[in-house]
Symmetry: C2
Subunit: 361 residues, 2 copies
């Protein structure tokens, strides 16, 4: 085995080494079954234990009440963009969206494709999504308010979630789920592609409040109804077993090694402080997001010119720091520091940034 | 590591041991990237190589012409049941289906949910799907003819595919894709959940002829259009990277160890002959499918009574033969002998069946 790098990928992203080692140990013989975890039936006791454990860990970590269900739906957050208006929009009611970047824009587009009464009640598009909007008015009769809690590409994050009164919040938490403690009760639905904070790519986690299930129209295709997944425990058909298995190992690490959401949040705040404090004292690196809207998951920054940015990314990789290129749509640099990218990695990055700057004279 | 069992699971099912060992070796450091295959970006050179190799291997193994595209779509065959009529039905044209069991029935149901003009032109339901229908008339103006090439639950398989003239065939090959050589040209679309013959659960492989892409209506949600997957090389959003990676390892085994489809078919025929010949000379075990409709992938059989069937499954497991219980909807016994379940496993099974019979006196 070669040396493992510090992984700052935006997703798929770093996973806890303990989880990877468990996979390695169990890949030929899962729990004495004589089969790989890739080969056991999804209807077996072995897999039942896996999916139930993943659900129970999610319940404990997020402090979910009995009125929340935890589902696993393939197709990533992108399929959720269309399932949400399809399932939750209620006839003739407006659906409110706040636009904070690429992913919100896609979510809005999918609601419009379905001919819903989409209202973009807030947006930071006029400043290239460099901040989280503060002034917006939720429609009194909105079916839901949709927002994206963390914006991987623009490097912004909601520090406090929007208030919407009785209107249920619907949130794409793909890039910051399980990164901090929060109150789930105002949320009708939370969804997250697994491949950033909780596992490999191949499934979305959907946390849905039971009253939302009553909204699901009967006429929808079976595989596009949240009720199908809720009634069958995400096993109407064969789920993405290995992905769920790995999610469970990541959640185990969160509970047993990290010690839960409060600890994880504290570590993430410390990581963010180290790198943002460094950027703020530098006149070489410039953060792209407004200070009050900065993401603790994706730190986006620029160097004096694009040539230097390219050199920065290349030299970082040589030093064992990978994934620092900004998203192809915006350029610049980006350090994604999800849960599994630890303090050590962030310290190594800041050290490299200092050295790189000095070398440029 | 404990002893690996002979795995007769219906899916998720046995995978080639060579593929599992490659996963084990690469799980902490993929191709010198310093990252797990679970952690590399889907936009990286590393993953590009994986998905392109999987597609090229599929092209070679199935002898696909340039007019066929190979796609990876999450959601299993069950999501395909709804995507097919949604994408390919053409306004006001009938869609023809042949009903050979549980999975065909589900495919038909999803087309009906969408209000399509569904015509069930053939069915073996009146004899509990124990055979493949021979007499049916394809509608001249049908948009497609859908059938299920192998029926995992009922243990039947199309020995020769239906003739439909110019009407494109659409086929659920979930349980026998890559098990035999065949001519793809009459097929407009072939789909297969990966978890039986080509990989773990978590993606469907979709092989689509380019003229079918012209049928896709503009108004569909982005993630439900085949054109989205075709135009973006199955990477409009993050695909199920690990599942595709494992599929590529299984296809590599098919090409390099087995030596292609003709060899695989020969081995599968030999496996089928061993077990069916044994059943036919026995008055203790009784096959449930008509002889001319028997599946080479799922061998379904009964014992004299349910008590003995239960005992058979339990004692087999003690002897290291797993997964022999019939589907919960039909009972009895079932040996799924997909590609990765080799001759040795089938010989061990037949030996056990002989011993078990003798012990009952």
């Amino acid at each position: 085995m070669g040396k493992r790098i510090y992984n700052f990928n935006a997703g798929p992203a770093a996973l806890p080494l303990t989880a990877l080692k468990e996979i390695q140990e169990e890949i030929l013989d899962f729990k004495g079954s004589g089969m790989s975890v890739l080969e056991v039936s999804h209807r077996s006791k072995w897999f039942d234990d896996v999916i139930n454990e993943a659900i129970e860990r999610t319940r404990r970590l997020l402090n979910l009440g009995d009125d929340f269900r935890v589902l696993f739906v393939q197709g990533g957050a992108s399929l959720q963009f269309c399932m949400i208006p399809m399932n939750l929009s209620l006839d003739a009611r407006p659906v409110d969206y706040i636009n904070t970047g690429t992913w919100s824009t896609k979510a809005i587009k999918e609601a419009k494709i379905q001919g819903k009464d989409v209202r973009e009640i807030g947006s930071s598009e006029e400043r290239n999504f460099a901040y989280i909007p503060k002034d917006f008015q939720v429609d009194e009769d909105a079916a839901y308010l949709h927002f994206t809690s963390n914006n991987t590409i623009k490097g912004t994050q909601w520090a406090k979630f929007p208030h919407s009164g009785d209107i249920p919040l619907v949130c794409d938490m793909s890039s910051d789920i399980m990164s901090r403690a929060f109150d789930v009760r105002p949320f009708g639905l939370i969804y997250a592609g697994a491949q950033k904070n909780i596992g490999p790519s191949g499934t979305a986690m959907v946390i849905i409040r039971e009253d939302m299930l009553e909204r699901v129209p009967d006429y929808l295709p079976t595989m596009l109804k949240y009720t199908t997944f809720a009634e069958k425990g995400s096993m109407f058909n064969t789920p993405a077993c290995f992905v769920i298995y790995t999610i469970n190992l990541v959640l185990k690490w969160l509970e047993e090694t990290i010690g839960g959401m409060e600890n994880m949040e504290r570590i993430n705040r410390e990581k963010g402080a180290i790198i943002y404090d460094f950027i703020d004292q530098s006149d070489f690196y410039v953060g792209t997001a407004d200070k009050d809207s900065r993401s603790l998951m994706n730190v986006t920054f620029r160097l004096p010119d694009e040539e230097l940015e390219k050199k920065f990314v290349e030299e970082a990789l040589k030093e064992g720091l990978g994934g620092l290129k900004g998203h192809r749509s915006v350029g610049g640099c980006r350090a994604s520091i999800y849960n599994a990218t630890g303090l050590e990695a962030v310290r190594a990055l800041v050290e490299f940034m200092g050295e790189f700057q000095r070398k440029q004279g």
